[in-house]
C-alpha cells in the first residue's frame, strides 16, 4: 500500500542532509543523484549545486515514517503528506529566499523552521 517510499539513507551520521522544505533525510550523494522525492521541483538531481542550497546538514533528530497518513507523529510534524521515508524533526535553517520564491511559484507551501 501507499506510494513508493523515499530512498533510505545509506549511512547513519556523516553526510546526512535534510531537505529544507520537506525535511527528508538522505545522504548528500542520494540527493545529488535522485533529488528529493517530495520536492522534485528543486531539481537537485539536475543541478547538483542545488543540493547544497536546498538541504542542510544541521538538523535535529530523525523520524522514520512508515505510514505518513496514519502516523500521528508525521501529522504533528506536518510531514503526513509526504512519501514514507526518513525525515528529521527540525532543521535549523530556512530555505534561501530564491528557493522560497520557487516554492511559491510552484504553489507549494513552505514553512520556515520555528525559532524559539
Amino acid at each position: 500500500m501507499g506510494s513508493a517510499a523515499a530512498q533510505i539513507p545509506t549511512s547513519f551520521g556523516h553526510e546526512l542532509r535534510a531537505c529544507l522544505r520537506c525535511r527528508l533525510v538522505k545522504t548528500y550523494d542520494q540527493f545529488r543523484e535522485s533529488g528529493c522525492e517530495n520536492c522534485p521541483f528543486f531539481k537537485m538531481d539536475e543541478d547538483n549545486e542545488r543540493v547544497v542550497d536546498c538541504t542542510t546538514p544541521n538538523f535535529t533528530g530523525i523520524i522514520s515514517v512508515m505510514e505518513p497518513s496514519r502516523s500521528w507523529a508525521a501529522r504533528w510534524l506536518r510531514i503526513g503528506k509526504f512519501v514514507p521515508g526518513c525525515y528529521t524533526l527540525a532543521v535549523s535553517e530556512a530555505l534561501p529566499e530564491d528557493l522560497q520564491n520557487l516554492c511559491e511559484d510552484e504553489h507549494v507551501q513552505y514553512a520556515p523552521p520555528k525559532r524559539v
Binding site: M1, G2, S3, A5, I8, P9, F12, G13, H14, E15, L16, P40, F41, P57, N58, F59, T60, G61, I62, I63, S64, V65, M66, E67, S69, R70, S71, W72, A73, A74, R75, W76, L77, R78, G80, K81, V83, P84, G85, C86, L89, A90, S92, E93, E106, H107, V108, Q109, A111, P113, K114, R115, V116
Partner: protein, 1039 residues
C-alpha cells in the same frame, strides 16, 4: 468552487486509494440525489460535508458522460490526468498537500469523527472526476468550466496564505487523540539511535505492511532510547524483532499528554550558526571568545576561530624533540599567530588549501591558522553559545590585525541579537549598516516587531522605509550628550567626541576620561551622572584613606574610579582614584575642637570663618586629622563638599567652650549619664541662635523620645528575643515593630534592651528607660548617611520643608538615621555641663519629661500630617527639636502638605515653654499617621506653568522629591518632581490602593468603600478590612 483546490491529487495517499472504490459508489448515490434537488450555488457555499456534492456538480457538467464509468472505479479514469501538463500537476498536488492536511485534521478531530475516514476518499473521487472535465475544455470551450477553474485557483492561493498564517492554531488540531497510534519508548544501543530508526524504515520497505508501526523516532538529545509509533505494543515488538540495536524486551508507553513533548525539539535545537559568538568551556581556551566558522550538527562538532594561546618557544622545543618542561597553570596569553616568528623558531609551517572552502591555512603541528587566528574544531558540547555577550574589549581584540571596523559589522549580528526589546525608540537617530541602503541615516518613526520604520535623511526617498532592526544601528554624532545604558560602562554619561563606525568615544562627564562603547549601548541623554554610587566597599561620600596616606571624601563615583576631594584644607584638590588605590574607609568617630574649643562632631553645623570658603556653613560630614569635610548644599563644586581645618571653623550657635568628653563613655554607664543628658541636648538646640534657652528646654522634652526609632531587643515576655524598632512609647510600655514579623507589638518598657547591634557602628549604647535622656538615633540606613543637609533649625523654610516630615518616621524603615548624629549628641553633653543657664532650664523639664518618656519629638500630638496645615501641627513641629530633623534624611518623601506648612514655622526652635510642655506631655502619640509618598502610587504632578499630569512614583529620593514616570500607565517620560509639585491621586471606590501612613504603611489593598473622610480598605495581605483615613490612601498604579 473553493473546494476545488483541496480536492485534487493525493495519489500518494495510500489510505485514500484503499477507500477509493467505496467512495465512488457513494458518490454515485449522492449524485443521483443531487440532481433532483438543489442549485449549484447553494451547494458551493456549504462546507466540507458538501464535498461530495460538489463532485456531483462536476459530473453534471461533464454531461454525465463519465457517470457510467465513474461507478467503475478509479482505475478507468486514472489515465486521463496524465494528459495534463506536468507543471499543472505539480501545482495542484502541492497545493493540495497542505489542504489535505487540514482536511485530515478536521477529519481526525474529535468533533467530526465520522468525517475522518470519508473525506480523503471524497477527495479522490473528485480528483478523478474533474480531470476529465479539464481535458475536455479545449474542445468544448466551456466558459463556465473555465470560470470555475479560475475560481478554484483563486481559492487555492488564498487558502495557502491562510494556512501559513495560522500554523500555531492549526497545530492544536493535530494534538494526539485516543484514536491515534501511540508512542512507545524502546531501548536501543547507545549511539545507535539514528541507525535503529533507519533500519526500521529499511525493514518496513523490505517487508511492507507486515510491519505495523507507523513511525520511529530518534532524538538527538535522548541517548539509549528511540520511540516507535504503533497502535499496539505487540506491533512494536514485532517490528523490532531481529534488529540487534533495539532491545524491545521492555516497551514503555508514552502518555498521550507527553507525546507532543517528545517531538518538540525545535525549542531545544541550539541555533548555532556561522558567525555566532561562543565561549569555550574547557581547556586552554576556557572562557575565551570564539567565533563559529562552521557547524557540523551531525557530528556535533563545530569549527571556531580563536585568538591562539600558543607558546611558540615551547612549541619549537617540542618539535625539536627537546625536553619540554610543563609548567602547570601556565596559560599563554592570547596572541595572534605570527607565522614568520614561528618560522624563525624553526617551526615547520605547512601551507595547505582547504579542499572544501578553498581557503589557505597554515598548518603547524596539526593546528590550523589563518590570518593569525587559530581554527579549531571542537565538540559542540565544549562551547557555550547561550547568552554570549562579548565585551567591547574582546571584540576589539578579535578584529583581524589591520582590519578596520567595517568588516566587523557582520559579527555585530550576534550583538544585535542580544538587544533588548524596545531597543529602538521613536526619534532615535539610526544608520543602516547592511544591505542596499547601507550608510543611510534616518530617524526612527515607528517600531514594529522586527521592522523599524525610519524616516530617511536623504531626500528623494519614500517618507518612511521599513528596515529590519538587525540592519540598523544607532547613530550618534560628535557633540551628542549620551548616557550608557548597558555594558560595563553602564550608567556613565558624557559627550561623544568621536564616532568610529559602531563605536563611540565618549568623554566621560565625571572622570573626564575617554571611554569606548558600542553605539548600541548608548542613548542620547542630557543627564549627567555617574550612575553608580558605590564600587566595592566604597560609596559616594565615604571618607577614604588613599594609598599615599592622604585621605579624602568620595565626591563622585565613576564606573571604575572615584573622584576624591582630598583632605587638603585651603584649596580644593580633587584626585581621580581607582578602586585599588583606596586603602580603606575611615569610619572612626572623632571629635575635634573648633576655634572656640567647642567640640565639633560629625553632623554638627559649622561655619567656616577663614580661608577661601569663608562664610560657608554646613554640617560636618567627616572629621579626620583635624580636617573637617563640610557639606554645603549651596556649594556647587565638589558635590557640595568643602574641606577645612577644624580650627578655621566655628560651630554654629556654639560660642561656649566645651569639654572634650566623648559621649560614648556615657553610654556605657547609663546611670551616670542620665542626668547630664538633658542639659546636653539644649546645646544642640542652641545652634539656632539666640532663642537657645527655650530651645534647650524643649530639647530635653524631646529627649524622651530618644527611644523611638531605636532598634531594641525584647528581653522578656512572649516576644523575648525579637528585635524591632520602637514605634512609640506609651507610658510604661513601648510599641515595637518587630523586624521579623512585620507587625507592631506592645511590650513593657522594662522588657526591652536597646543595645542591639545595628548596622551603624556609631550607635550609642542603651539609653532606654531613662525618660529624661536625650533621644537616640538608632539605626541608620547605611546608604544615605549623608543626606541630611539641614540639621540646622535656623535653616530656611526650604530646608524645613525637606526635612520635617521625616522626623517622625524614625520607625519607618525608609527613614535612615544618620549615624553622625550620635556623635554629635555625644559631643554635646560636654557643653551643657558648663553652661549653667541651660541647666537651670532643664530641671523643670525633666520633671515632666520623665513620666512621658519618648512621647517626644518623633510624634506630633494628634500626629496627622494630612492636617498638617493646622496650627496645632505647627506647634507640634516646633516642639520637635529641630536639630533632629535634619538627621532623618531618610529618603522619606514628604507630603506636599507638610512642605507647605513647614515654612510657616521658621526655625521652629524658639519655642515657648508651653509648646514644650505640650510636646512632652501630650498623651496622644500618633506618630504613625503621617502620609508620605511611596513608590508605585499615582500622583498628579503639577509644575509651574504646566498642566498637571498624572504619574507614577517610581522612587522616592532622599530630599523628598520623587522620580515619577508620567502617564497613568507609566509609559511616559521619567521626571524628578519636587515634593510640593506632587499631589497624591485620591483613590475612588474599588480602586487598588496603597497605604501611606500608619502601621499598615506600604500595604496594598482595595478601597471597598468611603465613609466621609474614612476609607474602608480591604488589605491585600491579611484580607482584613480596615477603616483608614482617606488621606493616607493613595491610588496604586496598575502594573
Amino acid at each position: 468552487m473553493p473546494r476545488r483546490g483541496d480536492e485534487d491529487d493525493d495519489d500518494l495517499e495510500p489510505e485514500e486509494e484503499e477507500y477509493q472504490a467505496y467512495d465512488e459508489d457513494e458518490e454515485e448515490e449522492e449524485e443521483e440525489e443531487d440532481r433532483g434537488v438543489s442549485s449549484r450555488k447553494r451547494r458551493r457555499s456549504e462546507f466540507i460535508d458538501d464535498v461530495a456534492e460538489e463532485d456531483d456538480e462536476e459530473e453534471d457538467e461533464d454531461d454525465d458522460d463519465d457517470y457510467g464509468g465513474g461507478g467503475g472505479g478509479g482505475g478507468g479514469r486514472r489515465p486521463r490526468p496524465k494528459r495534463r501538463s506536468g507543471s499543472e500537476f505539480f501545482d495542484l498536488e502541492a497545493q493540495v498537500d497542505t489542504d489535505d492536511e487540514e482536511e485530515e485534521e478536521d477529519g481526525e478531530d474529535d468533533f467530526i469523527v465520522d468525517g475522518g475516514a470519508e473525506l480523503p476518499d471524497e477527495d479522490d473521487g473528485r480528483r478523478i472526476q474533474r480531470r476529465p472535465l479539464l481535458s475536455r475544455e479545449d474542445e468544448q470551450e466551456d466558459v463556465e468550466a473555465l470560470e470555475r477553474r479560475i475560481q478554484a485557483r483563486y481559492a487555492r492561493s488564498s487558502h495557502t496564505e491562510y494556512d501559513e498564517e495560522t500554523t500555531d492554531v492549526e497545530q492544536q488540531a493535530h494534538l494526539p487523540s485516543v484514536r491515534d497510534p501511540k508512542l512507545w519508548m524502546v531501548k536501543c544501543a547507545i549511539g545507535r539511535e539514528r541507525e535503529a530508526v533507519i533500519c526500521l524504515m529499511q525493514k518496513y520497505i523490505d517487508k511492507g505492511t507486515e510491519l505495523q508501526i507507523t513511525s520511529a523516532v530518534a532524538l538527538d538529545h535522548l541517548k539509549n532510547y528511540i520511540y516507535i509509533e504503533a497502535y499496539k505494543e505487540a506491533h512494536v515488538k514485532e517490528a523490532c524483532k531481529g534488529l540487534r540495536n533495539i532491545f524491545s524486551q521492555k516497551v514503555m508507553l508514552v502518555p498521550i499528554k507527553e507525546m507532543t513533548d517528545v517531538l518538540s525539539v525545535e525549542s531545544k535545537a541550539i541555533d548555532l550558526s556561522r558567525d555566532t559568538w561562543v565561549r569555550m568551556k574547557i581547556g586552554t581556551y576556557k572562557g575565551d571568545l570564539a567565533k563559529v566558522v562552521d557547524v557540523d550538527n551531525v557530528r556535533q562538532r563545530v569549527t571556531v576561530k580563536l585568538i591562539p594561546r600558543i607558546d611558540l618557544q615551547a612549541l619549537a622545543n617540542k618539535m625539536e624533540g627537546r625536553e619540554v618542561v610543563k609548567k602547570k597553570a601556565f596559560v599563554p596569553p592570547p596572541r595572534f599567530m605570527n607565522i614568520d616568528e614561528a618560522r624563525e623558531l624553526n617551526i615547520r609551517v605547512e601551507r595547505r588549501r582547504d579542499p572544501m572552502t578553498g581557503d589557505y591555512f597554515e598548518n603547524i603541528s596539526g593546528m590550523l591558522f589563518k590570518d593569525g587566528f587559530l581554527y579549531k574544531t571542537v565538540s559542540i558540547k565544549s562551547i557555550s553559545s547561550q547568552n554570549i555577550k562579548p565585551t567591547f574589549d574582546e571584540l576589539e581584540k578579535f578584529r583581524k590585525p589591520g582590519e578596520n571596523g567595517d568588516g566587523d559589522m557582520a559579527s555585530l549580528s550576534t550583538l544585535f541579537a542580544n538587544r533588548k526589546k524596545g531597543h529602538f525608540m521613536k526619534g532615535d537617530a539610526v544608520i543602516v549598516i547592511k544591505g542596499d541602503l547601507k550608510n543611510l541615516k534616518g530617524w526612527v518613526e515607528k517600531v514594529e516587531e522586527e521592522n523599524v520604520h525610519i524616516r530617511p535623511e536623504m531626500k528623494g526617498l519614500p517618507k518612511t522605509l521599513a528596515v529590519n532592526e538587525k540592519e540598523l544601528c544607532k547613530y550618534f554624532e560628535p557633540g551628542n550628550h549620551v548616557k550608557v545604558v548597558s555594558g560595563t560602562q553602564e550608567g556613565a554619561t558624557g559627550m561623544v567626541v568621536k564616532v568610529e563606525q559602531h563605536v563611540l568615544i565618549i568623554l566621560s562627564d565625571t572622570t573626564k576620561e575617554h571611554i569606548r562603547v558600542f553605539a548600541d549601548d548608548v542613548v542620547e541623554s542630557s543627564e549627567v551622572t555617574s550612575g553608580v554610587t558605590r564600587i566595592g566597599d566604597y560609596e559616594l561620600h565615604d571618607l577614604v584613606l588613599l594609598d599615599n596616606m592622604s585621605f579624602g571624601v568620595i565626591i563622585r563615583v565613576e564606573s571604575e574610579a572615584f573622584q576624591v576631594l582630598k583632605g587638603v584644607p585651603d584649596r580644593p584638590e580633587v584626585a581621580l582614584v581607582k578602586l585599588r588605590e583606596i586603602k580603606c574607609k575611615i569610619e572612626k568617630k572623632i571629635n575635634v575642637q573648633d576655634r572656640h574649643k567647642n567640640t565639633v562632631s560629625v553632623k554638627d553645623i559649622v561655619r567656616i570663618i577663614e580661608g577661601p570658603c569663608k562664610g560657608k556653613q554646613g554640617p560636618v560630614e567627616h572629621i579626620h586629622r583635624g580636617v573637617l569635610f563640610i557639606y554645603d548644599r549651596h556649594h556647587l563644586e565638589h558635590a557640595g563638599f568643602i574641606c577645612a581645618k577644624a580650627h578655621c571653623c566655628i560651630i554654629v550657635g556654639g560660642s561656649r567652650t566645651g569639654g572634650n568628653r566623648n559621649g560614648d563613655s556615657y553610654s556605657r554607664f547609663p546611670s551616670l549619664r542620665t542626668p547630664p543628658r538633658i542639659p546636653e541636648s539644649p546645646r544642640r538646640f542652641s545652634r539656632g541662635g539666640p532663642p537657645l534657652d527655650s530651645g534647650g528646654r524643649h530639647r530635653g522634652g524631646r529627649g524622651h523620645d530618644g527611644l523611638v526609632g531605636t532598634t531594641v531587643k525584647v528581653r522578656q515576655g512572649p516576644y523575648k528575643g525579637y528585635r524591632g524598632r520602637v514605634v512609640e512609647i506609651k507610658g510604661g510600655s513601648v510599641r515595637v515593630e518587630l523586624e521579623s514579623q512585620m507587625k507592631v507589638v506592645t511590650v513593657d518598657r522594662n522588657f526591652i534592651s536597646d543595645n542591639v547591634v545595628v548596622s551603624t557602628p556609631y550607635r550609642d549604647a542603651p539609653r532606654y528607660g531613662m525618660g529624661s535622656e536625650t533621644p537616640m538615633h538608632p539605626s541608620r540606613t547605611p546608604l544615605h548617611p549623608y543626606m541630611t543637609p539641614m540639621r540646622d533649625p535656623g535653616a530656611t523654610p526650604i530646608h524645613d520643608g525637606m526635612r520635617t516630615p521625616m522626623r517622625d518616621r524614625a520607625w519607618n524603615p525608609y527613614t535612615p538615621m544618620s549615624p553622625p548624629r550620635d556623635n554629635w549628641e555625644d559631643g554635646n553633653p560636654a557643653s551643657w555641663g558648663t553652661s549653667p543657664q541651660y541647666q537651670a532650664g532643664s530641671p523643670p523639664l525633666r520633671a515632666y519629661e520623665a513620666p512621658t518618656p519618648g512621647s517626644g519629638w518623633a510624634n506630633t500630638p494628634g500626629g496627622n500630617y494630612s492636617e498638617a496645615g493646622t496650627p496645632r501641627d505647627s506647634s507640634a513641629y516646633a516642639n520637635a527639636p529641630s536639630p533632629y530633623l535634619p538627621s532623618t534624611p531618610g529618603g522619606q518623601p514628604l507630603t506636599p502638605n507638610s512642605a507647605s506648612y513647614l515654612p510657616g514655622t521658621p526655625g521652629g526652635q524658639p519655642m515657648t515653654p508651653g509648646t514644650g510642655g505640650l510636646d512632652a506631655m501630650s498623651p496622644v502619640i500618633g506618630g504613625d499617621n503621617e502620609v508620605f509618598l511611596m513608590p508605585d502610587i499615582l500622583v498628579s504632578v503639577r509644575r509651574s506653568g504646566e498642566e498637571s499630569v498624572v504619574g507614577i512614583v517610581r522612587e522616592v529620593l532622599v530630599d523628598g522629591s520623587c522620580r515619577v514616570v508620567l502617564g497613568s500607565s507609566g509609559n511616559g517620560e521619567t521626571v524628578t518632581a519636587l515634593a510640593d509639585e506632587m499631589v497624591v491621586v485620591a483613590p475612588r471606590k474599588n480602586d487598588k490602593i496603597k497605604i501611606m501612613a500608619g502601621l499598615l504603611r506600604g500595604s496594598t489593598g482595595k478601597l471597598i468603600g468611603v465613609d466621609g473622610s474614612d476609607g474602608i480598605v480591604k488589605v491585600d495581605d491579611t484580607l482584613d478590612v480596615k477603616i483608614l483615613d482617606l488621606v493616607s490612601l493613595a491610588k496604586l498604579a496598575q502594573p
